[in-house]
């Protein structure tokens, strides 16, 4: 039933236009929030159509739409999804519903603008994942910064201005190099279609420069060590919804960028520089894991744990060359890429849930200091149950989605190099250490002070949000096939692309 509709365009423009409507007419109107929720849910339902209508047997772009946009320069409004982008789009629509619900009672000041910002951002992020034209991609890639900049700056914490300007300038700095790379590729390929970029042959120096440009752009987004410093600041200052979207989606755009641009366009440079990528990824996993251990701020701790988890994503993407070198069949390579994708999606749910848990506490206590808490389980038993569950998932407990992605990547890493796997596996210890220690200090123990004693347990709205997330984390944890199946063909196609030299 969905095949006749321009589904991707609907998914992009319904939230954007709906958000604008809420922005302009929703001021102090009681229907602004229900309408926002309606739009978010409608987008989620539409995106399910993407899943049901998706043909997982092919790597070709699906739900393709193409219209001339800037005719004079052959820039097209060209959309389509494959096995990489489709799951991320569903993640986006789902997260937006969660964010709208999470901000329902909490945001009192200019709530219609808050909802509108997230709806507009949803449309822009879906557009980033589905754009097949380089300029279109870039336009949405940067436009996305505007609502997030405002969200952090308006509804953020005390140091929000510093955090949001740092976030904006950092990511803008990264993306301008992407722009140069795209313009150069247009110069070579004679078209702005991303799929055409995949087919041009490039010399080694060209590929190296292009790869470095992509690296700067996407490493800032992921974020990879050492360009990660904006993330803890942004997370700490952002309102809960902002943190959720930041962790669940915008970080994924970095990973998606590597899959869509860096690997297929510059495979030889990716191979030549894989030591750099593996090194940075392992640094993120190990070093940032230690950094997370010493955090005294709840949100900062989760932010650093996000960076460590995203290290698995980039690790999975760039160990494939070593796996190819070690075995002719390269079976592990598929596992590595799929592990990276599963890790991205799983992290989207778990990090979102963790930030929501912090949000629940923050709304009641207005502090994020770990030392201000203690014995929360005594006053908030239901909440404590969820918090412990998500903490376990974050630590990679088998049976949760957090385990699947990490396990796949570690397994693949064994085929590349024992030491990669060894270092990556330290996360199982480090992750458990910083998460469980945090849980111990915040949730368990005796009631620490009067404020904790006065806490009230989560209401039905919060219960619903956390329960939904817990269910998904559990389902993907025990049965990841629905997620991996849809990306199978695309992963195989990517592997054939990267194994062919472009020199």
């Amino acid at each position: 039933m969905f095949t006749d509709l321009p589904l991707l365009s609907l998914l992009i423009w319904l939230p954007v236009l709906g958000g604008l409507f809420v922005l302009v007419y929703g001021d102090k109107n009681p229907w602004a929030k229900p309408l926002s929720l309606l739009i978010a849910v409608a987008s989620l339902v539409l995106s399910i159509g993407l899943y049901t209508g998706f043909d997982s047997s092919t790597h070709q772009m699906q739900f393709v739409e193409k219209m001339s946009w800037i005719t004079a320069f052959d820039i097209n409004y060209s959309l389509g999804v494959d096995g990489f982008s489709m799951p991320l789009i569903i993640l986006t629509t789902f997260s937006t519903v969660i964010v709208v619900l999470a901000g329902w009672d909490v945001i009192k000041d200019r709530s219609n603008q808050y909802m509108a910002a997230f709806l507009i951002m949803e449309g822009l992020m879906i557009a980033v994942f589905s754009a097949l034209d380089a300029i279109l991609f870039y336009v949405f890639f940067e436009a996305m910064l505007i609502p997030l900049f405002l969200v952090i700056g308006i509804w953020g914490g005390p140091n929000r201005v510093y955090a949001t300007i740092k976030f904006f300038l950092y990511t803008l700095f990264g993306s301008v190099f992407l722009l140069l790379a795209l313009l150069y590729l247009h110069h070579v390929a004679g078209s702005f279609e991303i799929l055409d970029f995949h087919n041009v042959s490039l010399s080694m120096p060209e590929q190296i420069y292009l790869f470095l440009a992509f690296l700067i752009a996407f490493a800032v987004k992921v974020p990879m060590w050492p360009v990660h410093t904006w993330l803890p600041d942004a997370h700490v200052e952002a309102p809960t919804g902002g943190s959720v979207i930041l962790a669940a989606i915008t970080l994924k755009i970095g990973g998606y960028g590597f899959l869509r641009f860096a690997l297929p366009i510059a495979p030889d440079a990716s191979m030549a520089l894989d030591w750099l990528m593996i090194g940075l990824s392992l640094t993120a996993v190990v070093y940032i894991g230690f950094v997370a251990l010493v955090q005294t701020d709840l949100k900062k701790l989760i932010a650093y744990s996000s960076i460590a988890h995203m290290g698995f994503v980039t690790l999975g993407m760039f160990i494939i060359f070593r796996i190819f070198a070690n075995s002719a069949t390269g079976n592990g390579a598929e596992l590595a890429i799929e592990g990276a994708m599963v890790q991205m999606i799983s992290h989207g749910f778990i990090a979102a849930a963790m930030f929501l848990c912090v949000g629940v506490l923050y709304d009641r206590m207005h502090t994020r200091e770990i030392s201000a808490y203690g014995g929360v389980i005594n006053t908030m038993p239901k909440f404590a149950g969820f918090a412990v569950f998500f903490a376990m998932a974050n630590a990679g407990l088998p049976g949760t989605s957090g385990f699947v992605g990490e396990f796949m990547v570690i397994l693949a890493a064994f085929q590349a190099d024992f030491w990669f796997a060894f270092l990556a596996a330290t996360t199982l210890i480090l992750g458990a250490a910083y998460t469980l220690w945090m849980v111990k200090r915040v949730i368990f123990g005796d009631v620490a002070n009067d404020n904790v004693a006065k806490l009230t347990d989560i209401n039905r709205r919060e219960f619903f949000i956390l329960a939904t997330l817990a269910l998904i984390v559990l389902v993907i944890g025990v049965w990841p096939a629905p997620v991996t199946e849809v990306m199978h063909a695309s992963v195989e196609h990517l592997l054939t692309q990267v194994s062919q030299s472009k020199l």
Binding site: S68, A72, V161, F168, Y184
Partner: protein, 478 residues
């Protein structure tokens, strides 16, 4: 020299405007107290009808007055834009002038004469025509800056503007005379032809080009010939700043294209390196120094300098795409500047200039709609998609990448990241800070409508930049 009446019709817009300017002048002199009102209506009428005349004759091309006047797609589009921009400028400035006892007929007469000068520059086919138009435009603007006689800073700005402007004109004229010495011609097409034919003394030719580039650099406000620009922008009454910031830059751009591309296009290797210097320095100094400003007019002045750097980037590529990109940038720049200074006028009132950055604190609460428009304008100036300023930067950088000047392209993108900071600061003040003034912001309805149209135009052109880009691309080669 032969005059053919039929051909003179090509210059109908200028002739009409000249006649109307004289009528306006008479009206001002004879109507006394009501002169200002009449002058305002008459000048808006003049601009509107001139725009209609130009629009009616689109597509008609040719030269007249023995080749000294060119009518082509380039001149038509730019003149049309100049007329429209100046209509908006006069609309914005009127309430400002009224509030400050500056509402005089002379302002409008000078504005019309100055517009006439710009149109002559745009249509110039001869070095002397360029000079004629330039002086007509500039002299009127010197007088406009000096109109606020009681203000010390305005007088200082006028002096500075006049002396440096005169110096620049002198440089330009000197360069023209050297070129004349080499080629034996003052007509742009003849100069171009003799350069194509070759066998010129290249040393003397490049010497002449140096002076031409200096003259152009002065008029555009490119570094290192930019020193007058911040002082004049800050010192002039905002209404006048608005006038000299918007349309004259289009005219100066047209002058650069006519001289460097139309006349000296064959010798581009001489001016390309000079423009690289001007462009890179303008982008860097404009963007870096703007960060240190606390006065928004001065900040926008430095922002102008950086925009000029980007416009020159398109010109220096010496490709048709580059010229088209530069033209697109110039048009977009004038639209954005119009909005930016328009907003300052909107915020100001009697006895309050609204020219400090802190005056914008909490605008998001005092008037969400105006703040949204300013947000659009600032993000557009910073070059963030989906606003039109992004495509302007995209196209000039693309033209630079296409000729493989990657290092300059890297400078350009890096300075735009630096530049983003001070635009973001305005947004920060508007949205993240609490207002210092409690009262809601009111503005006359015509200005409210205008600023809305201006902001929405920046957004819509950003979503659908195709037709304007195609228009600019269709004009080149000249």
């Amino acid at each position: 020299m032969t005059f053919e009446v039929s051909n003179m019709a090509l210059a109908l817009p200028e002739m009409f405007m000249l006649a109307m300017a004289c009528i306006t002048l008479l009206a001002v002199s004879f109507l006394g107290k009501n002169g200002a009102k009449a002058a305002y209506s008459l000048s808006q009428l003049t601009l509107a009808i001139t725009a209609i005349i130009i629009y009616q004759s689109l597509g008609q091309t040719g030269t007249t007055f023995d080749g000294t006047y060119i009518k082509d797609g380039f001149s038509d589009v730019l003149k049309l834009v100049i007329c429209l921009i100046n209509m908006l400028v006069l609309l914005y400035s009127t309430s400002y002038l009224k509030a400050r006892d500056l509402f005089k007929g002379e302002y409008y007469v000078l504005a019309i004469f100055s517009t006439l000068g710009m149109m002559i520059m745009v249509s110039a086919g001869h070095f002397l025509t360029i000079y004629l138009g330039l002086e007509l435009m500039s002299l009127c603007m010197y007088a406009m800056v000096a109109m606020y006689r009681d203000s010390f800073v305005a007088t200082e700005a006028a002096m500075k503007y006049f002396i440096l402007g005169a110096l620049a004109s002198g440089m330009l004229l000197y360069g023209m005379s050297i070129i004349y010495g080499v080629t034996g011609n003052l007509s742009i097409s003849a100069v171009s032809a003799s350069i194509q034919a070759g066998s010129l003394d290249n040393t003397v030719l490049s010497f002449g080009i140096v002076f031409l580039v200096i003259g152009i650099g002065f008029k555009l406000g490119a570094v290192p010939f930019h020193m007058w620009l911040p002082d004049v922008y800050q010192g002039s009454p905002t209404a006048v700043t608005l006038f000299i910031a918007a349309a004259p830059k289009i005219a100066a751009f047209a002058m650069a294209i006519r001289l460097l591309v139309g006349g000296l296009g064959g010798a581009y290797e001489y001016w390309q390196d000079m423009l690289i210097m001007l462009s890179v320095l303008s982008m860097i100094i404009g963007n870096v120094v703007a960060i240190a400003q606390t006065n928004i007019k001065r900040m926008l002045a430095y922002s102008t300098i950086s925009h000029i750097g980007f416009i020159l980037l398109g010109v220096l590529s010496a490709t048709q795409e580059g010229y088209a990109a530069a033209m697109f940038y110039a048009l977009v720049y004038s639209l954005m500047t119009l909005g930016g200074f328009g907003m300052i006028i909107l915020m100001s009132r009697q006895g309050f200039e609204a020219d400090q950055l802190d005056d914008y604190k909490g605008l998001g609460r005092r008037n969400p709609w105006f703040a949204l428009m300013m947000l659009i304008l600032m993000f557009s100036m910073a070059g963030i998609p989906p606003l039109v300023g992004f495509y302007a930067k995209l196209m000039v950088i693309k033209s630079i990448v296409d000729i493989n000047m990657l290092s300059i392209a890297i400078v350009a993108v890096l300075v735009s990241v630096i530049g983003a900071f001070y635009y973001l600061r305005i947004i920060k003040l508007m949205y993240f800070d609490a207002p210092e003034q409690k009262q809601l912001l009111e503005a006359p309805s015509d200005m409210r409508v205008m600023i809305s149209i201006n902001g929405i135009a920046v957004l819509m052109l950003g979503l659908f930049p195709g037709s304007l880009l195609a228009l600019c691309a269709s004009i080149f080669p000249l």
